[in-house]
């Protein structure tokens, strides 16, 4: 049964459907019985990355792989890329457009929030080509429906 592989499209600039991918992942993790604190960390991290793809990059896609002891989330877009990742990672740094600010985004807290909630974060970005975030969240205990390492 595991790993479970999920894929979701992310539509650029669409504030109505934004979050549906993260919601789908959250539902899948909860159904597998993953511990709620890990579910929350994975959901918040993925949602921030999904919103970034919607706001800053014209959309993209989400690729989720759920294992017995972890979830690996890749959010890929074909947007402008991030010229200075160090700067983008700073709390408060934001280039969010007004439309995003009106929706409650643009605090410059998204990437720091992802970092805080992920056990591992890789940012692969190229100016003019796009960005891929790989977020890893480990579960404190294996998903009960999954055979544990010793089973």
């Amino acid at each position: 049964m595991l790993p479970v592989h999920l894929q979701f499209p992310i539509r650029g600039g669409d504030f109505h459907s934004a979050g549906e991918a993260s919601s789908g992942m959250k539902k899948a993790l909860s159904k597998l019985g993953v511990d709620p604190s890990a579910v929350k960390r994975a959901s918040v991290a993925m949602y921030e990355a999904e919103i970034n793809a919607v706001i800053h990059a014209g959309g993209g896609e989400a690729d989720v792989e759920i294992f017995a002891d972890r979830v690996s989330i890749v959010i890929r877009d074909h947007g402008p890329g991030i010229p200075d990742v160090g700067l983008a990672m700073q709390e408060g740094w934001s280039t969010a457009p007004d439309a995003a600010r009106e929706m409650g985004f643009g605090a410059g807290m998204g990437l720091p929030n992802i970092q805080r909630n992920a056990d591992d974060l890789t940012i692969d970005t190229r100016v003019g080509e796009g960005t891929a975030l790989t977020i890893l969240v480990r579960f404190h205990r294996p998903a009960p429906t999954a055979p544990g390492p010793e089973a």
Binding site: G19, K26, K40, S43, M103, G104, G106, A107, M109, N117
Partner: protein, 116 residues
């Protein structure tokens, strides 16, 4: 403090009831910027107060496992938002109190805010 007592204190209208209106509310946060709210997602926020009204507020509450959303300053969520909150099991309240007053009333009654 019990959720039903929060409703009385805020003179709030219940738009989506919780399964258990007696549930205990201990920790709350207030934010108009969603990523600011999510910066505190590592701790348990049972209630979130906001002056922002759009679908992403519900999504944010969903991701953070917030049980109760309070719209301040008399803001009214549209039917799509109410429907999504209902589907996600998030209780929705609406109060005419502004943000500062609503937070102050709850804080005075013993509800705590939490750092990261």
């Amino acid at each position: 403090m019990r959720l039903c007592d929060c409703v009385d204190l805020l003179a709030a209208e219940v738009l989506v009831p919780a399964k258990d209106m007696e549930t205990e509310i201990r920790v709350a946060c207030g934010a108009d910027l969603m990523s600011d709210a999510m910066a505190f997602a590592c701790s348990t926020n049972e209630m979130m107060l906001t002056g922002l009204v759009n679908l992403q507020v519900i999504r944010t509450a969903e991701m953070m496992d917030v049980k109760v959303l309070v719209f301040v300053r008399g803001k009214r969520p549209d039917p799509t938002m109410v429907e999504l909150a209902c589907e996600k099991g998030i209780c929705v309240l609406r109060t005419s109190n502004p943000m500062f007053t609503a937070c102050g009333l709850l804080y005075q009654a013993g509800i705590q805010g939490k750092g990261a």
